[in-house]
């Protein structure tokens, strides 16, 4: 992981803590209920279309946060109203809807949509109107070139370099470090971007990539791909998967009577992979899990309980809070802290405050003064152990007694 800026100035940390504290310590302080005209915060999510299964998690998290913020002091003493529209997983629709939110609905502030393509589309509109846009799911940070766009998830500025090295460090710590690797990836842009980085970093560190394959996002049949993976029989299988692609691949491998020795999955649907018999010991990217040390972060226990309740009510099959939900929670925590810190709803002042201050979020303390407004990278590795996801790497983020298990 990229180390934090060693020379980080104490004064800036303190200044950030004042703003973050305003948000996080708020429940402990008796406040009047927010009153007056609501502060309208607009945004879109992919409530229908191919991204809908993840966006619904973001919707629940956002609504939960609006409720929580309004239970405190709202924004500057005014209640927050969330204007949520459905971009249908289409960037062009996202673009039009952000235009509508700003010019017709006259929202005061905006929140970013879900996934790289809709975010890029919305970012263009935000830039035209000078709006601050906080987003949590743009997997290719270098594309976030707008000065007032801020990440709520700690990918770091170069996750294609930093995260493969986290994985390679974990591999090196295994009793028999893998020497060969198969890289298989969806052509979904953020997955492909990480796969290319993984190949480069693996080769740099002497791990031989026996096979590199790309498949179309939404691929239906993994039989032929599984046959090639089996034939390569590498020590480590890296899969740039989304949704249930990992489950489909592992099932196809089982049909060929093959179990990969060690396997990593980039963005799979967490519930189905953890519960699948093929998912045992699967490794995966994450930023936090509902376990220690993360549950000791301020407010995390309540958030996890609230999320479980709302996700159950929404009939979601996997109701455990995860990095997806926390991305949206982090977005709102950042916006709340920035509005309070800047003491203003003006985008210019909010952006200026964010560039100078840290914000304490569910992901820890985030900063926004690096390249593309990114701060330190915080991507971790989790593993399925007894049908539950456990953070296993880096070691300092593993819960007491939890270790990386090699096959």
């Amino acid at each position: 992981m990229v180390e934090g800026m060693a020379a980080w100035r104490r004064r800036r940390v303190l200044a950030g803590m004042v703003g973050a504290g305003a948000a996080l310590a708020a429940p402990a302080i008796a406040r009047a209920a927010p009153s007056g005209a609501p502060v309208k915060v607009g945004g879109t999510l992919s409530l229908t279309g191919f991204l809908a299964q993840t966006a619904v998690i973001h919707k629940i998290a956002a609504e939960m946060m609006v409720e929580e913020i309004n239970g405190r002091n709202g924004f500057l003493g005014r209640p927050v109203a969330y204007v949520l529209l459905d971009d249908q997983s289409k960037p062009d629709v996202a673009r039009s809807l952000y235009e509508k939110l700003i010019t017709v609905d006259k929202v005061d502030l905006i929140q970013g949509p879900y996934a790289t393509a809709p975010i890029l589309a919305a970012m263009g509109v935000a830039q035209r109107y000078g709006k601050v846009m906080i987003q949590s799911s743009m997997g290719i940070p270098k594309l976030q070139t707008y000065d007032r766009a801020f990440p709520a998830t700690p990918f770091g500025p170069e996750p294609d370099k930093t995260y493969p090295n986290v994985i390679l460090d974990a591999m090196a710590a295994m009793p028999t470090p893998p020497k060969t690797m198969v890289i298989l990836t969806s052509k979904f842009p953020s997955a492909q971007f990480m796969a290319v980085g993984m190949r480069e970093q693996a080769e740099k560190r002497g791990v031989k990539v026996l096979l590199y394959l790309e498949y179309e996002s939404g691929n239906r049949d993994f039989g032929a791909i599984a046959a090639r993976v089996k034939e390569a029989n590498a020590d480590f299988l890296w899969v740039g998967s989304l949704g249930l692609e990992s489950n489909q691949l592992l099932e196809s491998l089982r049909k060929l009577d093959y179990t990969p020795k060690n396997h990593f999955h980039l963005y799979p649907a967490p519930g189905p992979l953890a519960l699948s018999p093929d998912g045992d010991k699967a490794l995966c990217s994450t930023f936090l899990e509902p376990d220690e040390p993360f549950m000791s972060r301020p407010g995390m226990k309540k958030l996890a309980a609230d999320y479980k309740e709302k996700a159950t009510k929404a009939n979601l099959p996997y109701t455990t809070i995860d990095a997806q939900a926390c991305g949206m929670i982090s977005e709102w925590q950042i916006l709340e802290a920035a509005v309070a810190g800047a003491n203003s709803l003006e985008d210019e002042k909010i952006a200026a405050w964010l560039k100078k201050n840290r914000v304490t979020t569910v992901y820890g303390s985030l900063r926004f003064d690096g390249p593309f407004n990114h701060g330190d990278a915080g991507q971790l590795i989790k593993q399925v152990q007894n049908k539950e996801w456990k953070v296993v790497w880096p070691k300092e983020f593993a819960a007491p007694g939890v270790k990386l298990i090699a096959s």
Partner: protein, 273 residues
């Protein structure tokens, strides 16, 4: 190759109902895919909530789909929907079904885990997945049975005659309207059969309704409209070609294959097309 041919069985099964409706009723039924997914979700629900075995689910879902097909045709008949309008209307119907599925089952992924999902038979160096094999056999039986029915029975011959020239067929006493209801029901019932297998083999998400559209359209055209055996053969041809592309070239080439084969065949313009 084996995996591709077996995957092609699903293309063929999905193409079967669509091909009959397009070829013999002159209706391009885009909602066929949504009906297949509705059947898949019902199979999933019956299996996971009520622990109903998939074959019992099929026994309930397939007749229900038949009735939906009949009801759908009543609407087409009532409003005198033509070939072009059917595209738009059935597209709307598919969108409504997609939203309804999402409202009830949410947009989240659903997977019907069964003991059969990863079963395979080892034949020498080859592994043959059992579910896909059963799917292919069912698709084969349905395609062959429908082909025989269309060629050997009075009803089948009447349907083909009416598709050729409805007025002349009517002059010979063919009640095309009644037969069309039967055929529409059959097409939807085939979607129900495909849906049962989709529930067992694939991942369910409402947006997946559209994932099969392109390739199945190519299969219907290659297999010739209204030709059940052609649909199955074309499905297997496309499946095998896609699989070969994945194994020899790159998996990313697979989606290009179905349309390349379609274009090549259209350019070749063989007599049987």
């Amino acid at each position: 190759m084996i995996s591709g041919v077996l995957a092609g069985g699903m293309y063929g099964l999905l193409a079967l109902g669509l091909s009959l409706s397009w070829g013999l009723l002159k209706l391009v039924n885009l909602s066929h895919f949504a009906l297949a997914f509705l059947a898949a979700y019902l199979t999933y629900e019956l299996g996971t909530t009520y622990h109903v075995a998939p074959w019992w689910s099929a026994a309930m879902v397939v007749p229900a789909m038949f009735l939906i097909g009949v009801a759908q045709h009543w609407l087409f008949d009532r409003f005198k929907v033509n070939e072009l309008a059917s595209l738009l209307i059935t597209f709307s119907f598919a969108v409504i079904l997609e939203v309804a599925i999402q409202l009830y089952w949410t947009a989240d992924y659903r997977r019907f885990e069964t003991p059969y999902s990863t079963l395979s038979i080892k034949a020498g160096p080859f592994y043959i997945p059992v579910l896909e094999l059963v799917l292919c056999l069912v698709a084969g039986v349905l395609a062959w049975g429908t082909w025989l029915w269309l060629r050997k029975t009075y009803v089948g011959k009447a349907l083909r005659a009416a598709a050729e020239d409805a007025d002349i067929a009517a002059a010979y006493g063919v009640d095309y309207k009644k037969l069309a209801y039967l055929l529409s029901g059959m097409g939807a019932a085939y979607a129900g059969v495909a849906g049962t297998f989709i529930a067992l083999i694939a991942t369910l998400a409402p947006a997946q309704i559209w994932a099969w559209l392109g390739v199945v359209f190519a299969v219907v055209i290659i297999g010739r409209l209204g030709n059940p055996l052609g649909a199955l053969a074309a499905g297997m041809l496309i499946g095998a070609s896609e699989s070969l592309a994945m194994a020899v070239l790159s998996p990313a080439w697979a989606p290009v294959v179905s349309f390349s084969v379609l274009i090549a065949i259209l350019l070749w313009d063989p007599e049987w097309l």
